[in-house]
């Protein structure tokens, strides 16, 4: 379990990125931080692997304060996947993934074998293993990024808008892939996005944030949809635009699901 205890971060230039934030993230579930740009999502995420040290408060992983742990060791024990994949441009795909194993002290052969295995797990053709990142599409790079995050089999996976830079079709694919992986692997995932649909799709627990890391609402997607805590949340999840308020109409003998604006969005299956 990851726990934020009354945490805050003010950067050296005086920017208060996070005011006072407390939350528990249950193990083996996906928690999604969602909110508009600059609300402190990345800052919150990076406090878990000590890429950002809090100004006050604590982050605990399984009841151990991360500030008591060696930074490098801590980071090696946590998977990190970011937007634009962040791969090393001078290393082949396979080496980008295997390097994480090497850093943890695995020998060459073991690292490569494991890297091949995990590339397969994320659905990447093995013929791409010997390419450089620049020779891959954005979606393929993102898969490599996920593979790199998973290769050491960490308990925790931090994902910072990992699918933000790919087109909607590929994003859809990657999201489905992540759901499948999570069913198999049961990681504790902390996922950052500003796309509420993505948050509802992937999150077991969704955290809607306002500026300064202020929590507008925490809950499962169903809880939030059923009972938005306030106007901010209703508008953020799109209830006000009517896209999410659906009803059934009968047209030409078929039951069609229609939103408030009258647009047909689906059919009702029996």
């Amino acid at each position: 379990m990851i726990e934020y205890r009354s945490i805050g971060k003010t950067f050296a230039d005086g920017t208060e990125a996070v005011g006072d934030f407390s939350l528990q993230l249950p193990s083996r579930t996906t928690t999604v931080f969602v909110g508009s740009s600059g609300c402190g999502k990345t800052t919150l995420l990076r406090m878990v692997n000590r890429m950002v040290d809090p100004s006050h408060g604590q982050v605990l992983i399984d009841d151990v304060d991360v500030s008591t742990r060696n930074k490098v060791e801590l980071r090696r024990s946590i998977g990190y996947v970011m937007q634009e994949a962040g791969l090393l441009p001078h290393r082949k795909v396979i080496d980008n993934v295997a390097l994480m194993m090497r850093l943890k002290g695995a020998d060459k052969k073991e690292a490569r074998d494991r890297a091949h295995e995990v590339l397969e797990t994320v659905g990447l053709d093995s013929s791409l293993a010997n390419r450089y990142p620049a020779q891959l599409s954005g979606g393929q790079q993102q898969r490599v990024g996920v593979a790199r995050g998973l290769v050491t089999d960490p308990n925790i996976l931090l994902m910072d808008e990992p699918f933000g830079a790919v087109d909607p079709i590929v994003r859809d694919e990657l999201q489905q892939e992540l759901l499948r992986l999570q069913r198999e692997l049961d990681k504790t995932i902390v996922f950052v996005t500003h796309d509420i649909d993505e948050a509802f799709l992937l999150g077991d627990q969704v955290v809607i944030l306002k500026k300064g890391g202020e929590i507008a609402q925490v809950g499962s997607p169903a809880e939030i949809l059923a009972k938005p805590a306030n106007d901010f949340v209703s508008s953020f999840i799109g209830l006000e635009k009517g896209h999410r308020k659906l009803h059934v109409e009968e047209r030409n003998g078929t039951r069609i699901v229609v939103d408030e604006t009258g647009k047909a969005t689906g059919v009702l299956s029996e």
Partner: protein, 233 residues
Amino acid sequence: MSWFNANTDKVWDLLLSHLWLSGLPILLGFVIAVPIGWFANRHRRLRGTILSLGGILYTIPSLAFFLVLPSIIGTGFLDPVNVVVALTVYAVAIMVRSAADAFESVSPAVLDAATATGFAPTGRAFLVELPLAGPVLLAGLRVVAVSTVSLVSVGALIGVSNLGSLFTEGYRTDNDAEILIGVIGIVGLALLFDLVLVIAGRLLMPWARTPRQGRSPVSPIMSFAQHLRGGRV
């Protein structure tokens, strides 16, 4: 041509001395300048000072430098070490700026990703920063190489034998053929160094077909032409 045929051994000897008199400073200059450039890029406040210092060193006229070095480092007047040391200083002076630029050209996002995925600082410096600075380092090294090869010839004026000796001797004996052989030898050697560096770059950095943020300060050929014109003596 007849002069060359009669003096092949001598030209060959001079070529070999020229080779090590330039090769050693190029190598030493690179090895010394890279950590300084890395440091200068790391410490933004000192960067300006370090780079200006390099600029000032480079303005010392080479002949004067060759002449005063013995009294500074205690070598003999005709010792080739003087040439090697002086040219190493010039090489460092040019290379430090390239090195600082090279490390600056490395994408901060990639470095951040490397840290976040668990690289320790030293590992990151050698496994990520250094190779990614490679293309711009190489561009700088090519300038250093050609400029050093041409500068070595000034050493002939203080009696350190190299291909430049063909200039001094050819001038004294009014032998145009000898001077021409000297020029051809030096240009050839400079091109050879450049070729070796380019090939080494291709082999060591297959991922960098063109340096992405390649800011080659001066084209090697331009700087070479400048030195041949004797702008430095």
